[in-house]
């Protein structure tokens, strides 16, 4: 871990380090080089020993010319070694083996190249950095390949318009791609996911709020169960609905049953994600609401949920993306049909992933092409959902996007203006009478009471907020109190008060009444 190598003396060490930094950071390196230079200048022995510790800071990350050259050099020679080995040994076949060989020889050569000018630790660091870069690269290459391959193979079926408008009722396995389509599967997916959302969103969000708002042993237990259920095998969800709905209740396979199965699978996912988002709502906001006297349900409805809105939407959309793509629950519960069926309660229904699954089980190339086309449509659907989730969510709770921030700023400017208009006659007194609440108690009294003198104060209209809460002077004295006699900071608290009043609706007067 330590750079400091006490056994090595300055004379051996210093030149090595200076040469190492020649390329780009010469100006940075030169002040650090002073101890070594001092030693070279022949200062007395004592300080020289102390200065023998090379005080060169470790480079962390960053790009150097020699580093880049080493990477490219090692890559080129790794490639060459692989070509050579492949020609000679030929134990592998296929592109995959070639890449593995090339990569391994690249790593070895890179380690050797770096070792020419760095110590062992730095070599390990460089090599591991490259390994981690390639792990990340491999992951995203896999993602790109999976998505790209599906889109590429889907290109045969996708250009035909009938693919989106017809069902497979009239099209046999041998028919060309100009016959038949996946309209029935698309409709089925929409109906099933709508049923699942109708169950999951209210129940899941309520349960997430429950986990956050009513702590206790039972809610901890529910949370544990839900967390364990997030990885519930989806086929087990299908089996459960099959057992309950079809075997016990004697219903037939239908879109409704499939919707139930998808809900069972989605529910833990949505609850868990929403729970995480709700936990991030700042405690200060809920405490402020509580302090204003709002009951818990109003706090949740007007403070907690709006604050976490974008995160909750993200949770629901990501759950939807998972639910749309699940095949196995639908496989057990929806039955199979080639016809368009818009009635979820009656008759079998099919969803996109199930259609893909059934298409590619066929050996016919046209059916497989249809399968890839349906998979590409499914993938596009998931991508769109995902992008929507990222656009509206992705921010922490309470963070605003530009438009929301502008709107909030406009509202608070308006409130600030109204507030200053309201208090115009007393402004100079606010400024001068800096101390004491009694100055404040009188000021607003006069300001609202005299109302008329202020030229442009529409006194009765904006007055409701602070003034006539209950006509009680004590409460008036409390409202401006945080401003502490200074008109400038009076702006910020005012809009806050206003928005809370607006948001909490009828509760506002109770809140002001209870504020003290």
């Amino acid at each position: 871990m330590t750079v400091v190598d006490l056994e090595k003396g300055a004379p051996e060490d210093a030149p090595q380090h200076t040469s190492q930094h020649t390329s780009q950071d010469a100006p940075q390196a030169s002040p650090q080089g002073t101890p070594g230079e001092a030693a070279a200048e022949g200062t007395p022995a004592g300080p020289a020993v102390a200065a023998a510790v090379p005080d060169v800071p470790r480079r962390i990350g960053g790009v150097t010319r020699s580093g880049v050259l080493s990477v490219f050099g090692a890559a080129a020679s790794g490639l060459c070694v692989a070509v050579l080995l492949f020609g000679e040994l030929a134990p592998f076949s296929g592109a995959l083996g070639f890449f593995v060989t090339a990569y391994l020889s690249f790593l070895g050569l890179y380690a050797v190249l770096t070792g020419l000018e760095e110590d062992g630790q730095a070599v390990r660091d460089r090599v591991m950095t490259v390994v981690l870069w390639s792990a990340g690269g491999l992951m995203f290459a896999a993602l790109t390949m999976v998505v790209g391959f599906t889109a590429w193979r889907g290109r045969e079926a996708l250009p035909h318009a009938n693919f989106f408008t017809q069902d497979m009722q009239a099209a046999g396995p041998l028919d060309p791609l100009t016959d038949g389509g996946i309209a029935h599967a698309m409709l089925g997916t929409l109906i099933m996911i709508a049923i699942a959302l109708a169950i999951t969103v209210p129940l899941g969000l309520a349960c997430a709020v429950y986990l956050n708002q009513i702590p206790g042993r039972f809610s901890r237990f529910v949370r544990t169960i839900v967390e364990a259920m997030t990885a519930l095998p989806s086929i087990v969800a299908g089996l459960m609905v099959y057992a309950v709905w079809i075997l016990n209740l004697g219903m037939q396979k239908s879109g409704l049953a499939a919707g139930f199965a998808i809900s069972v699978m989605m529910l833990p996912i949505v609850i868990r994600a929403a729970d995480v988002v709700l936990r991030l709502v700042p405690g200060t906001l809920t405490e402020a609401s509580e302090a204003l006297g709002a009951p818990r349900w109003r706090t949740v409805w007007h403070v907690v949920l709006p604050t976490a809105r974008s995160g909750l939407a993200t949770a629901v959309i990501l759950g939807t993306a998972r639910g749309i793509g699940e095949t196995s629950p639908v496989l057990l519960t929806a039955g199979f049909t080639a016809a368009l069926n818009a009635d979820p309660t009656n008759g079998p229904m099919i969803s996109l992933p199930l259609a893909v699954f059934n298409f590619v089980k066929s050996p016919e190339p046209t059916m497989i092409a249809r399968g890839f086309g349906a998979a590409a449509v499914l993938m596009a659907l998931v991508l769109v959902l995902f992008v929507i989730a990222r656009v509206i969510g992705g921010r922490g709770p309470g963070h605003q996007n530009k438009r929301q921030a502008r709107r909030a700023a406009r509202a608070s400017r308006r409130d600030a203006r109204r507030f200053t208009e309201l208090h115009t006659p007393g402004l100079e007194l606010f400024a001068t009478g800096s101390s004491g609440t009694d100055g404040d108690t009188e000021r607003p009294e006069r300001g609202t009471g005299n109302g008329a003198p202020s030229p442009h104060a529409p006194a009765p209209a904006p007055a409701p907020a602070p003034a006539p809460a209950d006509g009680d002077p004590a409460s008036r004295d409390n409202t401006p109190a945080p401003a502490d006699g200074d008109p400038a900071p009076q702006g910020p608290p005012a809009p806050d008060n206003e928005t809370r009043t607006g948001g909490a609706g009828g509760n506002s007067d109770a809140a002001t009444g209870d504020a003290h």
Partner: protein
Amino acid sequence: MVSALKDSAGAESERPVPRRPSPARGLGDRVFRVQLTASGVIVLAIMAAVGLFLLLRAAQALRTRGVWGFLTTAEWQPDVHRFGIAAVLTGTLLIAAVAVTISVPLALGTALFISDIAPRPLRRTLVSMVDLMAAVPSVVYGLWGLFFLQQHVIGVSRWLSDWFGWIPFLHVDGTQPGEPLASQSVYTASTFVAGIVVALMVAPIQCSVMREVFAQAPAGEREGAYALGATRWGMIRAVVLPYGMGGIIGGTMLGLGRALGETIAVYLIISPVFTIQPHILQTGSNSVSSLIALHYGDASTFGMSALMAAGLALFLLTLAVNFTASSIVARSRSGAQSEA
């Protein structure tokens, strides 16, 4: 509700009594509380119903066969009362083992890459891409594995079995080392191919759990390591990895839970066999979930009961794995909060 509040407020305004911060006050809050608790109970009931109904339905098959017989029989012929999950369970575990072996280094590397190595502006994009990868439908992975990956993996499978065939589980029947003309079909539809595909499906989940825990490694200790002269990899080894050990183990197990239950991708790739098949490179494998997907259509009432029993076994297995995983992750998280 509001008027009641107003009244109480009016009464209180005379004598300022601080409101008691009890979790429920007033009618509205009581209703609210009851509703929320009800939703919690409903969710719990649904989750309990999964286990309960599977058990109920599986009882007939389990009574006939006995639990031990059910666990140790490899065949699947429920109509003559000879069935068990020894073969499919072995297959499930082997596929999951291959998947985890491949996915953990990949997920760990990607998580470290995102949390420590990647350029800062790139990190958010990378995180969303990992999340997207977790949202890709399993049937799409299955298609990719079946139509693209399989033909490219055959070379690797052959190389592995040629050179390491002396390791029992890498052996492939019907091939001789160094015999290049052996049929390629013995390497297709194997546990190995299915495992690779499942690895890609579980790696994003593992990665996001690990990354979350790594991101919580205290900045003070990171900087301390740098101040002592550590390289970046030195810092990762000395601070981030020990700190994130809980996350690594927990994330690995969460991925394992997903890998055990994966259905469609495995079903598309493997060719089902009902003997215990320990050779992972050889064609033929099976898993509990693909057994259910394969046989649910043609099952008699008793056969369905047997499938329910298999589903119950899978359910209990994943539940055990997930409980362990989430408790490990939770412990590592709570430690993070106390130290931060």
